[in-house]
Amino acid sequence: AQSVTQLDSHVSVSEGTPVLLRCNYSSSYSPSLFWYVQHPNKGLQLLLKYTSAATLVKGINGFEAEFKKSETSFHLTKPSAHMSDAAEYFCVVSYSGGGADGLTFGKGTHLIIQP
């Protein structure tokens, strides 16, 4: 069984300050991990993915995430927040078993950017 827990339902930061969105996962197998972003009334967009290569993964729009197996974490960070980063962020886990890799989503973190 696999699951993912996003530790904060809402995060509020000021523009220009660092962003940290926390995610812990549980998986019986070596997981693949992803972060997706969903802007209001828009589709889900893949930010970055970890698939057992480098543990520090760089994504689009200046975001990055670090896979820490000992902590079963995959936190998303950005050095400096921009107003356009305001959106819903989902941490996602999957594993490849028998050809099925159904992505399991967390409940989401709503990122608010204060001017």
Partner: protein, 113 residues
């Protein structure tokens, strides 16, 4: 490169009616998924196809939901009959390889009255 296409974008029906959603994945993507996203929640996988075969439908309410991907390209998801709790956004996604992450379409917003 064209993205995942879905239609219709919006649908309003009465409970107990039937409804169907259509999805055309990115060209060449063998894996296709249908997800249900209820307002305020993360998407939940309903069914996963690899080409025209089902590899995971464990969370599909099979008494009312059905899906097919007959030629291994586009897919249809049907609800028959609809219930109030089926009000959600239905997302289609496709992937080139298993485990590589998926690309999502814009979704169909279903309202059941």
């Amino acid at each position: 490169e064209a993205g995942v296409a879905q239609s219709p974008r919006y649908k309003i029906i009465e409970k107990r009616q039937s409804v169907a959603f259509w999805c055309n994945p990115i060209s060449g993507h063998a894996t296709l998924y249908w997800y249900q996203q209820i307002l305020g929640q993360g998407p939940k996988l309903l069914i996963q196809f690899q080409n025209n075969g089902v590899v995971d439908d464990s969370q599909l309410p099979k008494d009312r939901f059905s899906a097919e991907r007959l030629k291994g390209v586009d897919s249809t998801l049907k609800i028959q009959p609809a219930k109030l709790e089926d009000s959600a956004v239905y997302l289609c996604a496709s992937s080139l390889t298993v485990g590589g992450g998926a690309f999502f379409g814009p979704g169909t917003r279903l309202t059941v009255l």
